[in-house]
């Protein structure tokens, strides 16, 4: 909305009447051609000793705007949401477990390193490509306690990854509002896990 509204505003800084009028009709978003995207390629649950762990594989691409922002020092926090539900017929699905994980990608200008922080563990990479590779893989994330899973029940698992705009620095949040560049979220990936007992 604002993106649509403001260019108009800039050229007529002091005539506010048309702006005011436009304001009420400008509830539609203006879309830029966006190439920021997250796509979930694959996700599965593997059985560990006491729990099931998640392995997942994403495809993350940053638009030039975002890449530029990253190189200027803006940290990106990605939120990975995982959920296992048990479908019910006439009611909302029963939520078995919900797990969240933050993965942060940032650029350290002094050392010229890309840093990926996952679970308080920091890794540094000399280039963005390597950092993205690290970012786009989730490996052995224990998410479901085996006790929660009962034999014979049907379960559904879902995963979603998105850029958490609320963790962005304040000024950037303002920029991010309503922008497709910054609206980076994967689709919800559903699958039916096969639990081995």
């Amino acid at each position: 909305m604002m993106v649509y509204f403001m260019p108009y505003y800039k050229s007529n800084k002091f005539s506010c009447l048309p702006i005011l009028l436009t304001l009420f009709f400008a509830f539609s978003s203006f879309a830029y051609a966006a190439n920021s995207s997250i796509h979930i390629k694959n996700a599965e649950l593997i059985s560990l000793e006491e729990s099931y762990a998640l392995n997942a594989d994403f495809d993350i691409s940053l638009s030039p705007v975002l890449e530029d922002a990253l190189n200027k020092g803006v940290p990106f926090s990605f939120l990975v949401e995982f959920q296992v539900t048990s479908p019910r017929r006439y009611w909302f699905d029963d939520e078995i477990v919900t797990q969240n994980q933050y993965v942060t990608l940032s650029y350290h200008a002094l050392s010229r390193q890309y840093l990926v922080i996952r679970n308080n563990h920091q890794q540094s990479f000399p280039n963005l490509q390597q950092a993205k590779e690290e970012l786009s893989i989730i490996k052995s994330w224990p998410v479901v306690d085996k006790k929660l899973i009962k034999k014979g029940d049907a379960y559904s698992a879902a995963i979603k990854i998105r850029l958490d705009q609320t963790k962005l620095p304040k000024p950037v949040q303002v920029e991010a509002v309503g922008s497709d560049d910054w609206n980076m979220a994967s689709e919800r990936y559903h699958w039916t896990p096969l639990f081995v007992f």
């Binding site: 909305m1 604002m2 509204f5 403001m6 505003y9 800084k13 002091f14 506010c16 702006i19 005011l20 304001l23 009420f24 530029d68 922002a69 200027k72 020092g73 803006v74 350290h108 200008a109 002094l110 050392s111 010229r112 390193q113 840093l115 922080i117 308080n120 563990h121 920091q122 890794q123 540094s124 000399p126 390597q130 705009q165 609320t166 620095p169 304040k170 000024p171 950037v172 949040q173 303002v174 920029e175 991010a176 509002v177 309503g178």
Partner: protein
């Protein structure tokens, strides 16, 4: 309406506070900001709708010409202008100021300086890194010639010498062979990543690494080509923390640079957000101001509207209206004064009304008096026009004076020549000016015959109602009465004077005849007898005439008593036995009591019978019919004859004195009868009988007398019963 505006104000204030908080550096996220923005915009829209509604109401009222709506519009315009103009100026200035100040944050020099700072940090780190690498190279050369077992000590020595914090010797696979550190707290070295190891296998490799929790570190990986038999390559890792002071400074520069970059990234957005917030603030403030202006202007114009309504009510004549008083400001005082003025007006009008009613009543009273006066009244104004008159005046003059009201008085004289003398005389006297009063008697001829008028004129005192007043009376009857009574007096005296010598004359004549008849010869005595006979007869006639004369002129003194009229009639008829005339009596059976003078009534009967007898002289089969009929409250006596009747010219004047058809007779008979009957409150009429079938003629005299009222009648009945007993 007031409450809606108030609620909107509070709501707007709250939302604006939140919005400004969000626009600042609060913890509100972008989504919340959007929500707040949306809420504010919808509030503004609601305000716009409210104002539109208020305006439409106002215009509707204006179209319906509700009093005060125009004033409300004017006040509203003024208030709104007062709110909007300064608001717009502040808005323009602050938007400009805001953009300018945001722009002033960003400046090429600052950016260059920050970047330079970063670069400086980088280059100093780079040089330190190169130094570390150099040290590493030296250490690797030294290590290359050491046997494996002494590697740890050598490593320790070398590290101590070069002043590096950590030194680790690793296999190609990353397995720790030897570790030396001057940090007593570290038991395990920070190992390089696999990719770093891979890189180090080919070539020495140095990197600056921020290690979480420990700060900036310099890491150098140098391959050590061992000169022993195995010839296996080892990798030496040197880990040196960047000096605290430098790293802190560099980090600080980097943070500022980052902040700067973040800000510059969102520079436009910031401007937009602030401008949008400002715009919304302005809009909400102004819209609220306008809607408050509505309420205020309504409040201000309400008492004026009430006043205007009151004025209209008074203009349409309603003095009862009392306006409600708002507050105690000047408008309230105005309304109060208006109310007291209205009250006074109402009282004044009432007083005027009652005065008018009083004057009207007085006029009505005057008119009533005028109408019931027996005198005619004419009032002329100074111009000689007829102004006031009364009904009697019209009646006396025989002119409808209403036609001449407000017109020149002469016109009456021109239109009615018979009144010309009168009019001229009045005008003449009126124009004389000085003479205040005059009185005159004059005769005029009207449709009722000749009338005698007594006129009195007087000039009204000089004032708005000055003019001339004429009062006149019809004194015809009075004159007649005076004349009659004078004539009666004369007649009475004359009769008395004449009557006195008549008896001596008669006696003397009889005596002359008696004494001389025997002494004269038969011829002379015959002549004497004839002469004395004539004297006696004439004296007799004269006596009769004088008697009648005195009878007529007699003063009307009645000796009234209760008597039975029927009995009276039959008494009289018993005495009356005429020769050669048939008398038919047909009187009512029951007794009829009247109040009357028996002598007088006898005379009436006697006169009537005498008249009838006289009328039957020389008539075949003469007949007199006497009838008494009892009617509701009167008794009627009719005396009819079958003579020739009255001549037509006599009939209308039969009751006037000296009107007679007889050769001898005074002509006073019927006049006396009429007088007596009228003194008894009765009536008398005379008619000629003319029946075509039987060819009968004659005259009938009808006398009606009032019967005594029922109470006295009862008493008389009782008295009769006593008599019978």
């Amino acid at each position: 309406m007031r409450y809606i505006v108030f609620i909107t104000m509070v709501l707007g204030g709250g939302l604006l506070y939140l919005l400004s908080q969000a626009s600042g550096n609060g913890n509100v996220s972008g989504a919340d900001y959007t929500l707040l923005l949306g809420l504010n915009i919808s509030l503004a829209a609601a305000l716009l709708l409210l104002i539109a509604f208020q305006l439409s109401m106002l215009f509707k009222q204006m179209r319906a010409r509700v009093i005060g709506s125009r004033l409300t519009l004017k006040l509203l315009g003024a208030f709104a202008l007062m709110a909007i103009i300064p608001g717009l100026i502040v808005y323009a200035v602050s938007v400009n100021f805001l953009t300018q100040s945001i722009e002033s944050w960003f400046n090429v020099k600052v950016e260059a300086a920050l970047e330079g700072g970063i670069r400086l940090g980088q280059s100093s780190l780079d040089s330190m890194l190169a130094d570390l690498k150099q040290k590493g190279d030296n250490m690797s050369l030294n290590l290359a010639f050491q046997p494996t077992n002494s590697q740890l000590t050598v490593l320790n020595d070398l590290r101590e010498k070069s002043g590096v914090q950590d030194a680790v010797l690793l296999t190609m696979q990353g397995k720790i062979l030897a570790f030396s550190s001057n940090d007593p707290t570290s038991f395990l070295p920070d190992t390089p990543s696999l990719s770093q190891l891979r890189q180090a296998r080919q070539k020495d490799f140095a990197i600056i690494e921020p290690i979480s929790g420990k700060g900036l570190y310099l890491r150098a990986l140098i391959p050590v080509n061992m000169n022993d038999i195995g010839g296996e390559t080892r990798i030496l890792q040197l880990l040196q923390p960047v000096p605290k002071q430098l790293s802190n400074t560099a980090e600080a520069v980097q943070n500022v640079y980052q902040d700067y970059q973040e800000l510059s990234l969102s520079r436009e957005s910031l401007k937009q957000v602030f401008a949008l917030t400002l715009t919304l603030v302005l809009m909400l403030a102004m819209l609220t101001a306008v809607s408050v202006a509505f309420v205020l202007s309504r409040r201000l114009s309400a008492p004026l509207g009430v006043l205007a309504e009151g004025t209209q009510a008074i203009a349409s004549g309603d003095y009862e209206i009392i306006l409600p008083v708002h507050g105690n400001d000047e408008l309230g005082v105005l309304v109060q004064s208006f109310n007291s003025m209205t009250k006074q007006l109402g009282e004044a009008k009432q007083a005027a009304e009652s005065n008018r009613a009083r004057v009207e009543a007085a006029r009505g009273y005057l008119e009533t008096i005028l109408a019931h006066l027996s005198s005619g009244v004419l009032a002329l104004n100074d111009k000689g026009e007829l102004r006031t008159y009364n009904l009697i005046a019209s009646n006396i003059l025989g002119v409808v004076l209403g036609h001449f009201s407000g017109q020149a008085f002469e016109k009456i004289g021109q239109q009615f020549p018979n009144l010309k003398n009168l009019i001229d005389m009045i005008l003449q006297n009126a124009n004389k000016g000085k003479a205040n009063e005059w009185q005159a008697q004059m005769e005029i001829v009207t449709t009722q015959g000749q009338r005698t008028l007594l006129l009195r004129g007087t000039r009204l005192p000089y004032s708005a109602d000055s003019g001339y007043l004429v009062v006149f009376d019809d004194i015809t009857t009075m004159v007649q009465v005076q004349r009659d009574s004078a004539w009666g007096e004369v007649a009475r005296r004359l009769a008395h004077e004449i009557k006195n010598p008549l008896t001596p004359i008669q006696l003397s004549a009889e005596r002359i005849e008696h004494k001389l008849a025997s002494k004269l010869d038969p011829d002379d005595s015959e002549m004497l007898r004839r002469a004395t006979g004539t004297i006696i007869a004439q004296v007799d006639a004269m006596k009769t005439m004088v008697n009648e004369f005195s009878e007529y002129a007699r003063s009307p003194v009645l000796n009234l008593s209760r008597l039975d009229f029927n009995k009276l009639v039959s008494d009289v008829l018993e005495l009356y036995e005429p020769v050669g005339v048939t008398l038919e009596v047909n009187s009512a059976k029951q007794s009829v009591e009247v109040l009357g003078d028996a002598t007088m009534l006898r005379q009436v009967l006697h006169n009537l019978l005498q008249n009838a007898q006289d009328a039957l002289e020389g008539v075949n089969a003469p007949k007199i019919t006497v009838k008494t009929i009892k009617m509701a409250d009167l008794v009627q006596l009719s005396v009819a004859d079958n003579g020739n009747g009255f001549p037509v010219e006599i009939l209308s004047r039969a009751f006037e004195p000296y009107m007679t058809t007889k050769r001898h007779g005074t002509g006073l008979g019927l006049a006396i009868v009429k007088k007596i009957i009228e003194e008894h409150q009765g009536t008398i009429t005379i008619e000629n009988i003319k029946t075509l079938s039987s060819n009968e003629t004659g005259a009938v005299v009808l006398v009606s007398l009032p019967i005594l009222n029922s109470e006295s009648k009862k008493r008389s009945v009782k008295a009769k019963k006593v008599d019978a007993a």
